[in-house]
């Protein structure tokens, strides 16, 4: 199963009740995992539905594989669509849901059965085929929705907040599943979300949208390191986000090396992961800290950003000579800043618990 389809959205305007897209331009490469990130009400769903052909744009063009599909009805665009709340056909069994698109194509029974089996094995739902959607958990329903969209081998997979309705445990599992399925099938994917970590974990590139406009497009790194507008900076927030390869350590902890700086983490994951630490979880002091926190480092203050009552202090921890030393951002109150008399260039100690590191 291979689906390669590039997507170009050119100067797209859509008006739909209270949602509007204004002059949206996107260029998604074939096989890319592209994330559209934005707050609720930004018009993300409308954008996906417009790409699927479910809304007629007022102006602009949509190209799939270079073919202008602006006036092509949804059934002939070759896209798969997955909604946040699954939208499984409640009157059909899981197998009938998955085979829905194949039957419309008039395929033979044998082929349908073969492909339904293949896709449900890929998504580990082959034991659910005879069940009704209403009897499945959220995670299972979303896998079925994914199977139903993928089984017809779409040129393009559109995912509308596919993880948002799931509880946190399920969400992580399905997020990894999405990454794996994308690696295996290479289907061009446009994934809409309001969750920054989800966007970072999955996206090759991210487009940030707000009020119907695309405000920034770039790699996850670019988006959070160099937000090019006040909105993006605020929406993404100040974060410590790292990438690394988790390996097992001692005492039940795992170790995540960041350019020679070894951070202890608590996670079930292994291999390459992202890790985030909330700035308020990083404690800063001028003396070495005596605490239960597993992670304690000495570094130098490279930046102090004043945000009114709180202050973000960036501490660079020296690392192995070849790598770029990691920066940790700590949030403290203005009062602590004054009490500790922190200044740029000063040597300080930072500490955070292994459980404060969220690997994803």
């Amino acid at each position: 199963m291979k689906g390669y389809g590039s997507v170009q959205v050119c100067d797209l305007w859509v008006d739909l009740e209270e949602f509007h897209l204004r002059q949206v331009n996107l260029d998604v490469a074939a096989g890319e995992y592209f994330v559209v990130l934005g707050p609720t009400g930004a018009g993300k769903t409308v954008l996906l539905e417009a790409i699927a052909g479910l809304h007629q744009p007022r102006q602009g063009r949509i190209l799939i594989d270079g073919e202008d599909v602006t006036n092509v009805p949804p059934e002939r665009r070759g896209v798969g669509f997955v909604y946040q709340d699954y939208m499984l056909f409640p009157h059909l069994s899981v197998a009938e849901n998955i085979s829905f698109g194949l039957k419309l194509r008039g395929l033979g029974r044998g082929i349908i059965e073969e492909r339904v089996t293949a896709i449900s094995q890929l998504l580990s739902i082959d034991h659910l085929l005879h069940r009704r959607p209403g009897t499945l958990s959220g995670g299972e329903q979303q896998r079925v929705a994914l199977a139903r969209a993928l089984v017809v081998e779409p040129r393009l997979l559109l995912l509308d907040e596919p993880l948002s309705a799931l509880d946190p445990g399920m969400r992580e599992g399905l997020q990894r599943e999405l990454a794996r399925v994308h690696r295996e099938l290479d289907t061009t994917t446009v994934h809409v979300t309001h969750d920054f970590e989800e966007a970072v974990a999955l996206g090759d590139r991210i487009a940030v949208v707000n009020e119907g406009r695309v405000v920034q497009v770039g790699s996850p790194e670019e988006i959070f390191r160099k937000p090019d507008s006040e909105f993006v900076a605020r929406f993404v927030g100040v974060r410590n986000i790292f990438r690394g390869e988790v390996r097992s350590g001692e005492d039940g902890y795992k170790v995540l090396p960041l350019n020679g700086v070894e951070v202890a983490v608590v996670t079930g994951l292994t291999g390459r992961v992202h890790a985030s630490i909330r700035p308020e979880d990083i404690v800063i002091s001028r003396e070495p800290l005596q605490s239960s926190a597993r992670n304690s480092f000495r570094g130098r203050i490279v930046d102090i950003a004043d945000r009114g009552s709180v202050v973000y202090v960036t501490v660079r921890v020296p690392s192995a000579p070849q790598g770029k030393p990691p920066d940790f951002i700590s949030m403290i109150t203005r009062r602590s800043l004054e009490e500790m008399e922190l200044k740029e260039g000063l040597e300080v100690y930072i500490a955070f618990k292994a459980s404060a590191v969220h690997a994803f």
Partner: protein, 263 residues
Amino acid sequence: MKALFANRMHVSFVVLGSLLILFIAVPLLRTVTASNPAVLWQTLLDEEVRGSMGLTFYASLVATGLAFVCGVPLAYLLARADFPGKQLVEGIIDVPIVVPHSAAGIALLMVFGKRTPLGQAFSLFGLKFVSATPGIVIAMLFVSLSFLVNAAREGFEAVDPRLERVARTLGASPWRAFWRVSFPLAWRSILSGMILMWARGLSEFGAVVILAYHPMVAPILIYERFESFGLRYARPVATLMILTCLLTFVALRLIARRKGKGA
């Protein structure tokens, strides 16, 4: 399930509500029990009674069928589309519920009568409405179609339009998305609307009597026997009609419910 007699308020509501239930049940029960089974059997053998009951069921079924063909698409539009004058259309659908049915009969007569253009046009195809079965059908259609259209519209409104959108992306044309997704999901509501409409058509007197006194539907037959021969002669026919309607209605409800559960 909450207890029926949970508090004093519930108890007084139970008393008040029971009055209504008894108001329906007692007269029906009284009518049914008053008739001697032998007389009932004899009535059932009466050619005129059987013919009239058959005609009633048949005409109402045809009316329901006509309303299904045009009413389901209308209900779908009302559930899915927004257009200027939509409220007017919804109002028109409900009008037959509020106008006196004899007035509805008069109104139909004005359009489908023998000397009207429409009446003459239909007579070219051998279709006449006054004192004929088609007249009974349109009278029943007029007074009962609201039930089907409203029930079907509610059924379609309960189907998330995104289900249709998913079907479209999976390769379904609008027609196929309708037949494979929206219609089956709204079917239970449509079916219960059809049952309601059919039952309402069976009982129609006012509109039918204006357009077609003959051939006689059961409600008119009951009325005629009452007028010409008195209560004793009208009662067995009334009893038969009540029993048949109740049995069919309960049976259809049960079937509809089972189907709903299966889906």
